[in-house]
């Protein structure tokens, strides 16, 4: 009973927290709400007219939505980079940042689910996928595995921070015996969400561009570069705008993780390029299309040739401790690395899988305005969710939000 009371009070208090803030905060939230509304309007057009309002066709049947989904799974998985050392290795440096990381994971997962739903032809019959009521084709379909791991990871990333914050809210310490096992599971789980998402593509013999044993490991490497890079950027913003203390050491360690992951990612990229271009076979055509264009069709060239130099530049800069420890350079590197991997793991990965088609037909894909609108709306939704989560968490962690504190004042 008491818990319910505390929970109610927490809800009311956090509602209070998220509706009050500086002018900048209100502008930010207003902006996000506006983008979300535009996204919802675009989605209503899509619901009304069907997916024909997107750039997708029978030839390229997955596009911007699934690209963003794939990338964001990686961002979500990256929370583990903070969870592991903090809870398991008892590294105190990350303790402050870990709640932020998990909040980021929650926001990314919500975006993932939103992108999948946006991509569905029949969102009104999605209940067909619910085990027990519908038919859940487990274990045959990798998509069902993905549903399980994504929702499981979402649950873990909500429950662990919730428990900790709930305790702190009451002015009590969180009991490690309760949250450490959960944290341990989420470490394995994070690897699995990205690996399973990679298997979604990797398991298709119809698409040689994806049917490649390196796809899964490369997903992991790029995720563990892009995810912590985003966390660094977010921490930098939080450090600037709130009273939340993030030590330099924490960011330094995260930068180390980003660097190693980016290096491994680059090695794998070289390995992939070697395989595709040293002895090109019929199966290398998608890679040719992506990097050089095929038969005059070259829509992806500007994207991939933005991504690769940014990726290399960021990795090289980060490799040198002198640059990495300079926070201005670090933030710049993190930003360009994030963009590079978004392109590479987004439509640099999904679209070429369909081009050329099963019989060599080359039909290009360009997202439409409606599609871009929905995509931006979902990103705004993610940012919105994260802002709310982070603001509440920070208030609790800095001791400003406490149960019954208001009554005593």
């Amino acid at each position: 009973m008491r818990r319910l009371k505390v929970f109610k009070s927490l809800l009311i208090d956090s509602l209070d927290v998220i509706t009050h803030g500086s002018r900048k905060y209100h502008l930010w939230m207003g902006f996000l709400t506006f983008v979300m509304l535009v996204g919802m309007y675009c989605y209503s057009i899509q619901l009304d007219q069907g997916l024909s309002v997107t750039g997708m066709t029978d030839r390229v049947s997955w596009g911007l939505y699934i690209s963003n989904f794939t990338f964001l799974v990686g961002v979500a998985a990256a929370a583990v980079m903070l969870v592991m050392p903090t809870y398991v290795l008892k590294d105190i440096d990350f303790k402050q940042a870990v709640l932020i990381g998990e909040g980021l994971a929650v926001a990314a997962l919500i975006m993932c689910l939103a992108f999948v739903v946006a991509d569905m032809g029949g969102p009104s019959v999605l209940w067909h996928m619910i085990p027990g009521i519908g038919v859940f084709n487990f274990p045959n379909s990798m998509l069902t595995w993905d549903v399980i791991v994504l929702n499981g990871y979402l649950f873990l990333n909500i429950s662990i921070p919730y428990y900790i914050l709930f305790r702190h809210y009451q002015g009590k310490d969180a009991n490690p015996k309760i949250y450490v096992p959960g944290a341990l599971i989420s470490v394995f789980w994070a690897v699995s969400i990205h690996l399973v998402t990679a298997f979604l593509y990797q398991g298709l013999q119809a698409r040689p561009f994806w049917n490649n044993a390196l796809l899964g490991p490369r997903f992991l490497a790029s995720a563990f570069a892009a995810g912590p890079a985003l966390i660094i950027l977010v921490l930098a913003i939080i450090r600037n705008y709130t009273a939340f203390k993030v030590e330099n050491k924490t960011i330094g360690k995260l930068a180390m993780i980003v660097t190693v992951a980016a290096q491994i990612n680059l090695i794998m990229l070289v390995s992939e390029l070697f395989k595709e271009f040293y002895a090109p076979t019929h199966h290398s055509e998608s890679a040719y299309y992506l990097f050089f264009g095929l038969h005059g069709k070259n829509a992806l060239l500007p994207w991939i040739w933005t991504s690769i130099p940014l990726n290399v530049l960021a990795t090289v800069l980060l490799t040198f401790g002198k640059f990495r420890n300079n926070f201005k350079v670090l933030y710049f590197c993190c930003f360009i690395l994030f963009v590079a991997i978004w392109i590479e793991k987004g439509f640099g990965l999904i679209v070429p899988g369909f081009i050329p088609g099963p019989y060599g037909k080359i039909a290009e894909y360009t997202p439409t305005g409606v599609e871009i609108g929905v995509t931006m709306g979902i990103w705004a939704l993610g940012a919105f969710v994260f802002t709310i989560l982070a603001k509440t968490a920070i208030k609790i962690e800095t001791g400003k939000l406490r149960y019954k504190k208001k009554d005593s004042q």
Partner: protein, 365 residues
């Protein structure tokens, strides 16, 4: 009237409940043939409506709603979207029967797992629904696969001249969307002397055929014995039937298009918008798994014309081919033409290295 309804079977007529309260279902889930008593329902229903001069029908409880409400209870917990769809239908103050059919259709199960009675019930509902909407009667069956039948197909590359009569016949037979010009069959025009170079072939030609120095090869769904598309479907909305046909339950498909990505043969098509067929061109001889009208946002594909093949006929493409390049039959019948072709010709299949075991062979004279 109900253009914004997401279902294809938007009903334009308002009808009162059917008179047959003794029957087990709103559309007549009786064991008798539906054709006869449906006419009766329609005429009386329309009469009723006019008599009442409005939509004040009584929401009569019929037996089959048990299933519907069982599912409703479950779905209320999860399917906000689904509930909204159904609710909006009710809110439209359309006839109760229409609402009930839509409701039951929204929450029915997967066709693959239905008993024969349930299959018949849904077919009857769909027929009734079409009747309410257009005032026209269609015939739809839910025939199951016959024993000792395994369908196979052979394509004679020497004979095909690229006339594309098969494509037109297929579109007409299978009620494909006319706006997007969806076609299950693709005819690839290839250059003589270069072998099967699909990447240099043209599958979208507009000129007189046969073009000098070219030969033609058709592809469609190969109805693989080991179909990659079936494994990947998260809801088992597509499966391989006992007679080898790979089919889709259009009402169970959630539209994720994973099967499309998994198909190595470009055999699947998606309804990007609401499919439309002019009323007078609709083929009214339908099968639940075959050429019945689809809705927006679901997959579809060649079914070897299940509505014909299970009645012992050839698929429309086979009958339409003017050169006799297409051969269809029962692989388990030792006297069938397809067996003769397989035993006497040098046959091959496409992308055999993928292990999909297509039941579609190519050969040359």
């Amino acid at each position: 009237m109900s253009e914004n309804n997401t279902k294809w079977f938007s009903l334009n007529l308002s009808n009162s409940k059917p008179k047959q309260q003794a029957s087990t279902c709103g559309c007549g889930n009786t064991s008798g043939g539906c054709g006869g008593h449906q006419n009766e329902i329609r005429s009386s229903a329309i009469g009723d409506e006019r008599h009442k001069d409005g939509f004040e029908q009584v929401f009569d409880v019929q037996m089959d709603r048990r299933t519907a409400f069982k599912k409703l209870t479950a779905s209320l917990l999860i399917g906000a979207g689904a509930v909204t769809t159904s609710c909006s239908v009710v809110a439209d103050e359309k006839s109760k029967e229409k609402a009930q059919i839509d409701w039951e259709e929204q929450f029915k199960g997967n066709y693959k797992l239905m008993s024969d009675e349930e299959k018949k019930a849904t077919v009857d509902r769909l027929v009734r629904s079409y009747e309410l909407r257009t005032n026209k009667t269609i015939s739809m069956t839910s025939e199951n696969a016959q024993e000792n039948v395994l369908f196979g197909y052979a394509f004679n590359i020497s004979k095909c001249q690229g006339y594309m009569d098969c494509v037109s016949a297929c579109v007409e037979e299978n009620n494909q969307d006319r706006n997007s010009e969806m076609q299950y069959i693709r005819i690839h025009e290839m250059k003589d002397g270069q072998g099967l170079k699909f990447d240099e072939a043209d599958d979208n030609y507009y000129h007189e055929v046969p073009a000098e120095g070219h030969f033609y090869l058709g592809t469609q769904c190969f109805h693989c014995d080991n179909p990659p598309c079936v494994d990947v479907c998260p809801v088992q909305a597509t499966w391989r039937e006992e007679d080898g046909l790979v089919v889709i339950d259009y009402d169970w498909c959630v539209g994720c298009r994973y099967c499309m990505a998994a198909c190595p043969y470009d055999g699947r098509r998606f309804n990007w918008s609401k499919p439309e067929v002019p009323e007078d061109e609709v083929n009214k001889n339908q099968h639940y798994l075959g050429n019945r009208m689809r809705k927006k946002g679901v997959m579809e594909k060649c079914t070897f014309c299940v509505q014909r093949s299970r009645k012992g006929q050839n698929p429309a493409c086979v009958d339409a081919c003017p050169t006799g390049a297409r051969i269809f039959g029962n692989l388990l019948d030792p006297n069938s033409t397809i067996r003769w072709v397989l035993e006497n010709k040098k046959v091959f299949r496409l992308k055999e290295d993928l292990g999909t075991e297509p039941k579609f062979w190519y050969f040359m004279d």
